[in-house]
């Protein structure tokens, strides 16, 4: 199978349309199973009580916020290095979802922090570096809006995304490098320091967040392709089809 065939917007656009429902359904099913594990199966935490159940959205969203940034920078780097249009469009499609994942991570972290630490916010290394990640996402989005020429915007956003990648290991290792209010990692290579049902619920929710992120990024990518490729010959059949649907 020639995967490079799908490196063109013309061939990837219909493929993305076929993939979106599958990832959307997977996200909904996994979220339902994850919520059942989180609220009906997993036990109450011995120290934190019920409030620890925020972990099932806080940790997946925090992981996704970092992961999506790296993926965005990767596609941005490809666009920068090879001038590939689809890579730049993918990077453009990822940024808003990454920003929203960061907002969810910060919001749920604040709501978890108040009953457990006694404060919604502290300027510790983990929280501050996650906030910097949000500013990086917003910076990438704003930079794109500020430049009229899309190919120049692609290059500028890719450079900013690549520079910002340095923040991701800082976020991840901050709880080891510095003495932070934020707790250390519960899942390590040596094992997880939590009940197996808690871990199962968290992992299922993580896959739900993954599936959702893929579905929504592909959906946004399809809109971006239509925006940026209008006037292209390959879109002409699509235009006549949507006009016919609208006339019906």
């Amino acid at each position: 199978m020639n995967w490079f065939r799908y490196a063109s917007p013309a061939t990837f656009h219909p493929l993305a349309g076929r993939l979106i429902p599958w990832f959307g359904i997977a996200a909904a099913l996994l979220a339902a199973i994850g919520a059942w594990l989180a609220f009906a199966v997993a036990p109450v935490d011995a120290q934190q009580g019920e409030v620890y159940r925020i972990i099932y959205i806080h940790v997946p969203s925090a992981w996704m916020s970092m992961f999506l940034y790296v993926v965005m920078a990767f596609w941005g780097a490809l666009a920068l290095g090879f001038g590939t249009r689809l890579s730049a469009m993918l990077a453009q499609a990822i940024a808003p979802t990454g920003a929203l994942m960061t907002v969810i991570a910060l919001w749920t972290g604040a709501l978890w922090g108040r009953p457990t630490w006694g404060t919604y916010w502290a300027w510790d290394a983990r929280m501050t570096s996650e906030l910097v990640l949000l500013f990086l996402y917003l910076g990438v989005i704003a930079l794109r809006q500020a430049i009229d020429d899309p190919r120049r915007a692609d290059r500028a956003c890719a450079v900013l995304a690549l520079v910002g990648v340095v923040n991701v290991p800082i976020i991840y290792f901050s709880v080891r490098w510095w003495n932070t209010l934020h707790q250390g990692a519960s899942i390590r290579a040596s094992g997880a320091s939590m009940d197996p049902t808690m871990l199962a619920g968290m992992l299922v929710m993580t896959f739900a967040f993954w599936s959702y992120a893929i579905a929504i990024v592909l959906a946004r990518l399809r809109a971006i392709v239509l925006e940026r490729e209008r006037g292209a010959a390959w879109l002409a059949p699509q235009v006549s089809r949507t006009v016919a649907e609208a006339a019906r």
Partner: protein, 53 residues
């Protein structure tokens, strides 16, 4: 402090963010399709090499 208030606040806002994002993407897609149907001017520098990456 009732812990369920914090849990509800976390899950409700997450759900709201997801719904808002889905609606926003749907609206963007519809806007892009209507621009396409209306035959608006091509995006700057777009489709300079159709079919190529």
């Amino acid at each position: 402090m009732n812990p369920w208030n914090f849990i509800l606040g976390a899950y409700a806002v997450t759900l709201l963010v997801v719904v808002v994002e889905i609606v926003a993407v749907q609206l963007r897609r519809r806007a892009a399709e209507s621009m396409l149907d209306a035959g608006d001017e091509p995006y700057p520098h777009s489709a300079d090499s159709p079919g190529s990456p």
